[in-house]
């Protein structure tokens, strides 16, 4: 589609002898919303700080728009950051906060004034010029932090868990707000989060990270529907991950029962991991499905019921809008398209790097 704007080449970084990033390579397209997603300590924030210039990689290069910026100071980079805890200048007014970068660049007063107005309008906080940051709510402060960054017209906006400190409702509102901003500004957003729902909602492209390695990258649909390994499947949403045997192409034996599937090329009688999303497990009348089981647990979740079904020695997690009472006998049916087959990692180490090799 579009051209690479930022390329990370073989980046490694350790702190106190602990390897945080190991030979990480990543390309980020112009004008895309890219999310680095992973549990805490996976290296996502370090990656962002290396792009922002706050950390230097031990090895590797950062290429920005064709130029090597690995050793460039943060104040010389054409990108701006929105920090986790807003990081507003508390002793300055909102207008002074937004003007900070422009004043350093010696822009004229009238230009700065226009820009402040434009930025406040963009984040829906018109008329807040003379307020102090302390008098604003968390969501408002975060929007000011975004306004302060975008008035500098960066090519890339880096966002480090910007919604982490907000409550759920505010977070959801801000997700739409950020998506809208991204479309209006037409710049690249690189977003760091540990919240998989946030990542799925906003991103064009998700990079799932764990232990300093990229586990998988792709569109939200691809990451969710076709996880490449057990880590990704488990991290993105709930799932049933079951060690199984690939009998041959398009046929897999799960817990002793044969299921039709659509995957090919795993060989014959090979051990594999299968991922089945809880909403893809269909509960039918006993003997109408592939295997039979008993409902052992039931929780009402609002949108759907969450049920535990004991079948063939495995406790299946099932999401359904149709209620099956605890103790009832059910059949389990799975559409071949909804069975995702993954290679079994040979070792724990390989599990971490399976994507990068």
């Amino acid at each position: 589609m579009s051209k690479d704007l930022i390329t990370l080449e073989h980046i490694s970084k350790s702190y106190d002898g602990q390897l945080i990033l190991d030979d990480l390579s990543l390309s980020i397209y112009e004008n895309s919303f890219v999310t680095l997603l992973g549990p805490s300590g996976c290296g996502k924030t370090t990656t962002l700080r290396i792009i922002g210039g706050f950390e230097k990689p031990d090895q590797g290069r950062v290429i920005f728009d064709g130029q090597d910026i690995t050793n460039l100071a943060p104040n010389k980079r054409q990108l701006n950051t929105v920090f986790q805890k807003y990081a507003l200048f508390t002793h300055m007014t909102i207008a002074e906060n937004i003007a900070f970068g422009l004043k350093i660049k010696n822009k004229s007063d009238s230009y700065i004034k226009d820009k402040i107005k434009y930025a406040l309008k963009l984040v829906n906080l018109e008329g807040f010029e003379n307020r102090m940051p302390d008098s604003l709510s968390g969501g408002q402060q975060q929007r000011i932090a975004i306004a302060r960054a975008i008035v500098n017209e960066p090519k890339v906006l880096l966002l480090d868990e910007p919604l982490g400190a907000l409550d759920l409702k505010m977070r959801q509102d801000m997700q739409y707000e950020l998506k809208r901003l991204k479309d209006e500004l037409g710049i690249t957003f690189i977003y760091v989060t540990h919240d998989q729902e946030e990542a799925l909602t906003m991103s064009d492209h998700i990079v799932v990270m764990n232990q300093g390695y990229i586990q998988q990258e792709g569109s939200p649909e691809k990451i969710y529907n076709e996880p490449e390994n057990a880590f990704v499947a488990d991290f993105i949403g709930d799932s049933n991950i079951i060690r199984s045997t690939m009998i041959r192409d398009e046929l897999v034996e799960i817990l002793g029962a044969k299921f039709a599937c659509v995957d090919k090329g795993f060989g014959e009688n090979k051990p594999v991991d299968v991922v089945i999303r809880p909403e893809d497990v269909e509960l039918v009348a006993p003997d109408a499905g592939t295997i039979n089981g008993v409902v052992t647990g039931l929780t009402f979740k609002g949108v759907h019921y969450e049920m535990d079904v004991e079948a063939n020695g495995y406790e299946w997690l099932v999401h359904s809008t149709k209620l099956s009472e605890v103790g009832s006998n059910v059949g389990i049916k799975i559409d071949p398209f909804n069975i995702q087959i993954m290679n079994v990692p040979a070792s724990e180490d390989e599990e971490a790097i399976s994507e990068t090799v």
Partner: protein, 258 residues
């Protein structure tokens, strides 16, 4: 009823605390030398005081020591706090503990040990030794006041300034310094106050022939208290009171302004 009792209780406490000082201030305006009799209002003790050369030189000594001790202890204390940012929190609390000990240590112990140290090092007592002593006991007060500010420095704000194009020094002066200035100011005022009203440590480190206000008063008292001393004590009380009010007011006023 409860409210009335509360008021009475508060009044009693305040009377106990301030009655002696009030007596002193009242007596400093008493034209009679007697401590038991009111002989009419006068300012003559204050006027006598101002024309007294010994007092003038003691005042000069006190102020110059206080000012110099404040400057040095504020600079040393502040830089120590900033340097301690890089330490682990465990090491930091150990160092803070060590620096806090001189504050709770009895002044007389501090005074005598400093005197012994100066003797041992053959530093002749006088202005220099008092100044060194005052700097020493003031540093913990400065650190106590600056450290909480330093601990709360939000480094993301510093990075945000860099991110927006600021150079490192510009970012420091625009983001980190404003955050710790209230701590530095109240630390300095605290140090100044402590230096101004110290007697014991000064007494042990001053040697002979050099007087500050507090040691001068003490010497005068030995010869029998003159009403000028009331006037002088009243003045010292007022100055210290005003300084302390500034110390406690300064940080609050700053936050309110926000």
């Amino acid at each position: 009823m409860r409210k009335v009792l509360e008021r009475i209780y508060l009044a009693i406490i305040l009377i106990f605390m301030y009655a002696p000082i009030l007596t002193l201030i009242v007596l400093s305006f008493n034209s009679s030398k007697s401590r038991a009799k009111w002989g009419g209002f006068t300012l003559k003790w204050y006027i006598n005081l101002l024309s007294d050369e010994a007092v003038a030189s003691a005042l000069f000594n006190t102020l110059s020591i206080a000012v110099l001790a404040t400057i040095f202890s504020t600079i040393i204390g502040t830089f120590t706090c900033i340097a301690m940012i890089g330490l682990s929190s465990k090491l930091r609390s150990i160092i803070m503990g060590i620096t806090n000990i001189p504050m709770i240590n009895a002044d007389i112990v501090t005074g005598i040990s400093l005197m012994l140290l100066f003797r041992f090092l053959h530093i002749s007592t006088g202005f220099t030794t008092i100044l060194l002593a005052h700097i020493t006991f003031n540093i913990p007060f400065v650190m106590l006041s600056v450290m909480p500010r330093v601990k709360n420095i939000n480094f993301y704000v510093y990075e945000a300034a860099l991110d927006l194009g600021a150079s490192r020094p510009y970012a420091f002066f625009k983001t980190i310094l404003p955050d710790i200035v209230p701590g530095i100011v109240s630390g300095a005022l605290m140090a100044f106050t402590m230096s101004l009203d110290d007697f014991i440590i000064t007494y042990f480190t001053k040697g002979s022939g050099f007087e500050t206000l507090s040691t001068l008063i003490y010497n005068e008292v030995k010869r029998g208290i003159q009403p000028e001393i009331y006037a002088l004590s009243a003045l010292i009380f007022v100055v210290v009171l005003v300084l302390l009010m500034i110390v406690y007011r300064a940080p609050q006023a700053k936050t309110k302004e926000k």
